[in-house]
Symmetry: C2
Subunit: 469 residues, 2 copies
C-alpha cells in the first residue's frame, strides 16, 4: 500500500498516514474487513520507521476505524458508519434505458427486445462444457476477427435467410455501434460527409457527428429513400458512404420496397457510393414476404452488411457482426484490432454454441410470436386511448412510429410521462435537421415490455399527452 | 429463405434455386442436417409456384445433397463430401499471438500473463449465482460507464495499492487499447501530436497513427524520460497528451524512478500537458519498493489513469478500466457510449464477484510467485545460452528486454526462429523512429510460457541467432 507522503510538509508523517487512511475508509474505498499490510511491511514500503506506522494505526484503532485480529493483522473495522451510502447513487447511471431508477415505470423508449426470453442457464452450461473441452482456448488473446466457431455459426444462420456470407468475410463485433465506428474510421475522416435516411437511428447521427463527420439526411417515403433526391444529394455532398436500414428501419419500423432496393443499389454503384447496410433485426418478421438484403443485390465490395444479437437475444451480450470483402475487409479487421474492439472469447464461444444448435431458431420463433402479440396489443391500445394518433402497423421489428395530431414540446412531454410512469422516445432525436413538424412523432418499443403492461402504459401516455395541451 | 433470383435471365428459375443451394451446401454455408423450408413455404416467400421449388429440391435429392425425413421435411444431407475442409483454414487467423498454429512452438512474443492460472470454473459458478439472484440485471443494455459493482471492486483494489479512485470516476473498458482510442478521440483529432516514451507499446504507436495522429518519441534513460528533452519536445511539438507507462514499461520492463515521476508531473502541469498513465501490470511486482502512481502526484484532472485485467487474469476477458475527473470524465464516458465500447454486463458482474472476494489478491500473489520463478529461469538460460546478450533483470511485470551484441535483420531472425520453434517480439516495432541500432533489441515474455519450456525456448533462440550470422 503506497500512501502518498509529503516529507517537506509541517504535518508529521504518522498524521499524514492516519489522514489518508481515514479518508479512504470514510469514502468506502477501503471496504470493511480489508486487511491492511502489517506495520512492518508498510513501514518498509514507505521507507519509514515502524514506529511511525504503529502510531498511525494506533490512533485509528482507538477511533474504531481499524481493528486488530488475534493473529496480529490489522483490518478496516467491520461496523463503522460512513458518509457515503452503500450502493450506486441514483445520479450516476444517466443511461436513458435504465428504467429501474423509477420503480413501476413502463418503458417503451428502449432499443432492444425482451431479454427475459434469453435462456441464460443453458448458455452457462454451454460455457462450462466448452471450458472442460478446451480450457486454454477461452482465455487467450482474442483474434480481432472473432472466434471461428461463431463466424461459422453466423454463416449458417445467414444462409438460411438467403444470404451467402463465407465465415472468412465475417468479423465479430460488440454490436452495431462498433460497426458504425469501424466503418466511419475505415471510409471517412474528419470533415467528410455521410448520408443517412431521415429519420434514422439517433445514436448513428450522434456518433458520426462526434467523429467530426457531416451528416446529410436523405428524405424517405413509404417505399424508402426518394431516389431523385438520393442522386442529387450524392452529387452535391459527395458522401463517403450511405448508412441505410432497409428492414424495419429504426425508428419508423418501415421496410424499403424490393424495387426501391434494386434501383438504389444500382444508382449507388453508378455513383461509386459504398453502403453500410444495418439489418438490426434480421429475421424478426411477423408477416409478409422477406425482402432481399442490399448485399445480395450489389456487386462484391459495394455493401458492408451488419447485424446484431443485441436486439434478438439480449443487449447485455454486446455481440454482433459485419461482413465485407477484399481490401475493405482487411482494413476493417486491422482497424478493429487497433481500436480495441476485440470481444471476450468466452462469450463468443458461448454464443457460437447457442446459435449453432438450433436453439437460436426456436428462440427467434418464440420471440416473433410474442412480439407480434405485443404489437397487436399496443396498436389496439393506441386506437382506444389515443384515437387521434396515426401509425402504420409494422410487419416486423420492434418499433411503432406514432404521429400525434399536433407538435408538442419535448421537455414538457417527457416530464408529463415521468409523472404518469411511462417512458417513450421522442421523435426529434432521430432527425438530422429537426423541424417544428418533426415534433409530432414518437417511437414506441412494443417488444421489450411485459405483455400485461402494454395497455396500462398506453393509457398513461394518453394521460400525459392530455397534460401537455 | 430468400434465394436471389433473376427473372429476366435465360436460366430457368428452378435451375437458379438448385444452383444457389448447391453453392451454399458446397461451401458449407448450409450445414449438414440444416432443415430447409417446406417447398410450399419457400415457393410463397419467392413468389413462385410450388412445382418450381419441388423440381429444384428433387434434383438435389437425386444428387445426394439433400435428403428427406419421414415427416416430409427436407434437410441438407448429413454425409456429403465438401470442397471446404472443416475447421478454420490456417491462413485465417493472422494474429501474432496464436501460437497454436505451429504445434510445439514456444512463444515468448505475447503481451499477456499466463491465463491457465485463471480459475474459470469458479468464475462460472459466480455468474450462475448472479443470474439466480438478479436474472434481468445481466442482460439489459449496459451502462456505458460500466457495472457499479465492478467499479466499486476496482476502487477497493486500487485503495489497497495506495490509489484513491472513487467509483464515480472509474469507467470500465474492454482493455487498454480501448482507453487509448477513447483518450485519443477525446483529447486530439487528426493531425495533432501525441508524445510517447521511446521505445513503447507497439500497438499504441500503430493506433495513434491509424487515427491520423503524429507520434513523437521521448528519449528515456534508466530513470525514465529525459526531462530536458521532454520540455523541449513539448514546446516544439505541442502534443495534445503524453502516453506514459511508468511501471515495468512495455517493452523494456523498466520503472520510472520516484524523483523522475515527481519532476515529470510538475513539468507537465506547468506546460499544461495531460498525461495518460498506463499501469498495465499494476501490482505485479517481484521485489523492491512500489512507486507512486503519477495520478497520485498530479493535480486533479491532469492524469487519466488506466489499468487492465487482461495481463493479470486472462486476455480473453477483455476487461480493464480508466479513471478520470470532471468534464474530461464526462467526455470520455459519452465517447465510450457512442463508439460502442460497452462491455458485456454478464462478464463485468462475474469479474466484480471474482475480484471482490479476495480471490483476486490470492491470484495476484500466486501469479507473482510463479512469474518471478520464470523470470529467474529465463535470466539463467540467457546467461548460459546467449552469454553475449545484455539485459537488466526486471523487478516486476512480464518482459525482458534483451540487447544483442550486433544488429540483426528482422525478417531473417523471425524466419530462423520459426524454423527452430520459438517466437520472440523483435525490438524494432516498439520504436517511433527505428534506427539501425534499434535492430539489436528483442522483447521476451517470461510469464506466459510453461516453466519447463523456458530453458528449451532460450536454447532454440540461441540456435536461431547463430543461423543469422
Amino acid at each position: 500500500m503506497l500512501i502518498p507522503l509529503d516529507r517537506d510538509a509541517d504535518t508529521p508523517l504518522y498524521r499524514q498516514i492516519e489522514t489518508w487512511l481515514r479518508k479512504a475508509i470514510d469514502a468506502d474505498l477501503l471496504a470493511p474487513g480489508t486487511r491492511l499490510p502489517a506495520a512492518r511491511v508498510l513501514a518498509r514500503d514507505l521507507g519509514l520507521s515502524r514506529i511511525t506506522v504503529d502510531a498511525a494505526y494506533a490512533e485509528l484503532i482507538s477511533e474504531g476505524l481499524l481493528e486488530t485480529r488475534g493473529s496480529g493483522g490489522t483490518l478496516v473495522a467491520r461496523a463503522i458508519s460512513r458518509r457515503r451510502p452503500a450502493g450506486q447513487p441514483t445520479w450516476v447511471s444517466g443511461h436513458p434505458n435504465h428504467a429501474e431508477e423509477q420503480p413501476g415505470i413502463i418503458d417503451f423508449s428502449g432499443g432492444g427486445g425482451d431479454d427475459s426470453l434469453f435462456p441464460f442457464p443453458a448458455f452457462l452450461r454451454g460455457l462450462k462444457t466448452r471450458h472442460r473441452e478446451a480450457p486454454s482456448g477461452l482465455l487467450g488473446f482474442p483474434d480481432p476477427a472473432g472466434e471461428w466457431s461463431l463466424r461459422t455459426s453466423i454463416a449458417h444462420i445467414c444462409a438460411c435467410q438467403g444470404l451467402l456470407l463465407p465465415p472468412e468475410e465475417i468479423l465479430i463485433t460488440g454490436g452495431s455501434q462498433q460497426v458504425l465506428t469501424l466503418t466511419a474510421n475505415a471510409l471517412a475522416s474528419g470533415g467528410d460527409t455521410v448520408l443517412v435516411e431521415e429519420p434514422t437511428y439517433a445514436k448513428a447521427i450522434a456518433l458520426f457527428r462526434a467523429l467530426g463527420l457531416k451528416v446529410v439526411g436523405l428524405p424517405c417515403d413509404a417505399q424508402g429513400p426518394v431516389l431523385e433526391q438520393f442522386q442529387g444529394l450524392v452529387e452535391a455532398h459527395r458522401p463517403r458512404f450511405a448508412y441505410l436500414i432497409p428492414n424495419f428501419r429504426n425508428p419508423t419500423g418501415s421496410c424499403m420496397s424490393a424495387s426501391r432496393r434494386r434501383r438504389l443499389v444500382a444508382l449507388a454503384e453508378g455513383l461509386g457510393l459504398p453502403i453500410l447496410e444495418d439489418d438490426y433485426v434480421g429475421g424478426l418478421r411477423y408477416e409478409g414476404q422477406p425482402l432481399p438484403a442490399l448485399r445480395t443485390l450489389a456487386r462484391p465490395g459495394q455493401v458492408i452488411y451488419t447485424s446484431t444479437f443485441s436486439k434478438l437475444l439480449a443487449p447485455g451480450l454486446c455481440a454482433g457482426f459485419l461482413a465485407a470483402e477484399g481490401p475493405l475487409l482487411e482494413r476493417l479487421r486491422t482497424m478493429k484490432g487497433l481500436l480495441g474492439f476485440s470481444s471476450s472469447r468466452v462469450f463468443q464461444c458461448g454464443l457460437a454454441d447457442f446459435v449453432g444448435v438450433g436453439s437460436y431458431r426456436n428462440h427467434i420463433r418464440r420471440s416473433a410470436r410474442l412480439f407480434r402479440k405485443r404489437r397487436d396489443l399496443m396498436c389496439a391500445a393506441l386506437a382506444q386511448h389515443l384515437p387521434a394518433a396515426r401509425f402504420t402497423r409494422p410487419t416486423g421489428g420492434l418499433f411503432l412510429w406514432v404521429e400525434l395530431p399536433s407538435p408538442c414540446h419535448g421537455a414538457t412531454l417527457v416530464a408529463a410521462c415521468v409523472r404518469e410512469g411511462v417512458r417513450v422516445a421522442f421523435g426529434e432525436d432521430f432527425y438530422v435537421d429537426p423541424l417544428p413538424t418533426t415534433r409530432k412523432f414518437m417511437r414506441l418499443n412494443f417488444a421489450m415490455s411485459p405483455t400485461e403492461s402494454i395497455p396500462v402504459g398506453i393509457e398513461r401516455l394518453a394521460r400525459a399527452l392530455r397534460q401537455t395541451r
